[in-house]
């Protein structure tokens, strides 16, 4: 139950992108996203350029475009607001297909949509080519505070355990004739969530006990040392370097 899906986002492979050390990829994606965000929204061609760069990465990583497209759907709830902007923003109005839309709002929507999508696609590619475990090692290597990395690691380990527990509670509710039919069901669901929280909390205490019993003193022992060669850093830098050329051109053209 729930087991076997731990690496839902990861596509195992052996491409040059897969082989790059995780911290190099993390830095590359972060730099790329910053460059995209720093690009003036009026330079529409620049965003096309970024998209071409990401397509090149996807090709090199042998991640099918269809997979990327399916996963980009995750951004829909976040950009829904962007689609409202042309209707509710004030300022100059233009007529598009018989609708009177705000020009500012249109630019704003385009800005969020383009930059958001590029950022999501870059993250999807990172997740597809890097095991979650390696991402954590990369974060640790980049000196993200240990505590944060540990918390993320426990989420990774116990996500399935908690999901399975939730599943068992759902089965137990349904077996006794419960159906979430209308708003009156919220009370029951809220109590289930409360129970799940308590159970997870108690499990946390038991896990801590098991850790202390094996000599844990607040620091996780470092079991892996992942290093990166200058060649690997250079390879990872290809994406942000190419993107920075696009960004520079976009600014100089202004």
């Amino acid at each position: 139950m729930g087991a076997g899906h731990a690496h839902r986002l990861h596509l195992p492979g052996d491409s040059p992108v897969h082989r790059l050390p995780p911290h190099c990829k993390l830095v590359a994606v972060l730099a790329f996203v910053l460059l995209v965000v720093a690009t003036p929204r009026e330079r529409m061609w620049a965003f096309g350029g970024y998209a071409v760069l990401l397509a090149a990465v996807a090709l090199a990583a042998r991640v099918p475009f269809g997979t990327v497209a399916r996963r980009v759907v995750i951004e829909v709830p976040f950009v829904a607001f962007a689609l409202l902007m042309p209707f509710i923003a004030t300022g100059e109005k233009v007529t598009v297909l018989g609708l009177r839309l705000s020009e500012d709002g249109l630019w704003g929507a385009w800005n969020i949509l383009a930059k958001g999508t590029l950022g999501v696609v870059a993250s999807v590619l990172l997740a597809a080519t890097t095991e979650p475990r390696m991402l954590l090692l990369g974060l640790e290597r980049l000196r993200v505070p240990r505590l944060i990395v540990q918390i993320a690691g426990f989420m990774l380990r116990y996500g399935d355990v908690v999901a399975a527990e939730l599943g068992r509670m759902r089965t137990a509710r349904a077996s006794r004739g419960f159906e979430a039919r209308d708003v009156r069901a919220t009370g029951v669901l809220a109590k289930s969530l409360g129970a799940l929280f308590l159970r997870s909390y108690e499990r946390g205490e038991r896990v801590h006990l098991a850790m202390v019993s094996r000599g844990y003193d607040g620091r996780m022992p470092v079991l892996h040392d992942i290093g990166a060669t200058p060649v690997q850093w250079t390879a990872a830098a290809a994406l942000p370097l190419a993107a920075s050329l696009v960004t520079l051109t976009a600014w100089m053209g202004a």
Partner: protein
Amino acid sequence: MTPSLDVRGLAYAYPDGTQALFGVDLTIGRGERVALLGPNGAGKTTLVLHLNGILHGGLGEVRVGGLAVDPGDRAALREVRRRVGIVFQDPDDQLFMPTVREDVAFGPANLGLRGAELDARVRSALDRVGMAHAADRPPQHLSFGQRRRVAVATVLAMEPEILVLDEPSSNLDPASRRELAEILLGLDVTVLMVTHDLPYAAELCPRSVILSGGVIAADAPTPDLLADAELLRAHRLELPFGFDPAAARR
């Protein structure tokens, strides 16, 4: 020879006032396998958590291989936690690292082992429970029986003086239960096994003690103890239907 475990006059009350232990005396010699039996609420878990100093502050004394458990002395406590290997009941509590190998390495790495020495320790611990093939798998992808075996390996990797197992047979199917028994019988280590599973105690432990009402109520060879129907009934212990304690005498 120094006993593996020596508990004298151990008494403990939880902070809310509930008294769980009323003066426990228990000595386990090196290489012995002892079953700790007792009804729910008898104080079994409380006793176990005293063995490596997680609970403390009551009366009495615990010595592991001659070393006193003293929560004030950090270095000694670290050594005590190496010497006492507790395998908790739910392997999901015990296995918290992303892969089996890292989980088994957690304990010895906390003891300061690194590199080839650490790898060798992990490999030998996994070999002893027959799980070396799963070293790179995440624990959540293993069967329950396999996870329990890995949980045993995580403490074996610390080369403990005494292995403490909390309900080792719970939730195991009969085949996993037998496999675990074979592994435990093959280990050359002192064992204290907390259990309700009396046939399992008969199979694995020549000696049993009953903890009841916070004191050791009986301490005898397991077959004798299981043959005493009066004693078992007095402490809410029952043999499963059809089990003949005489069959346990071999």
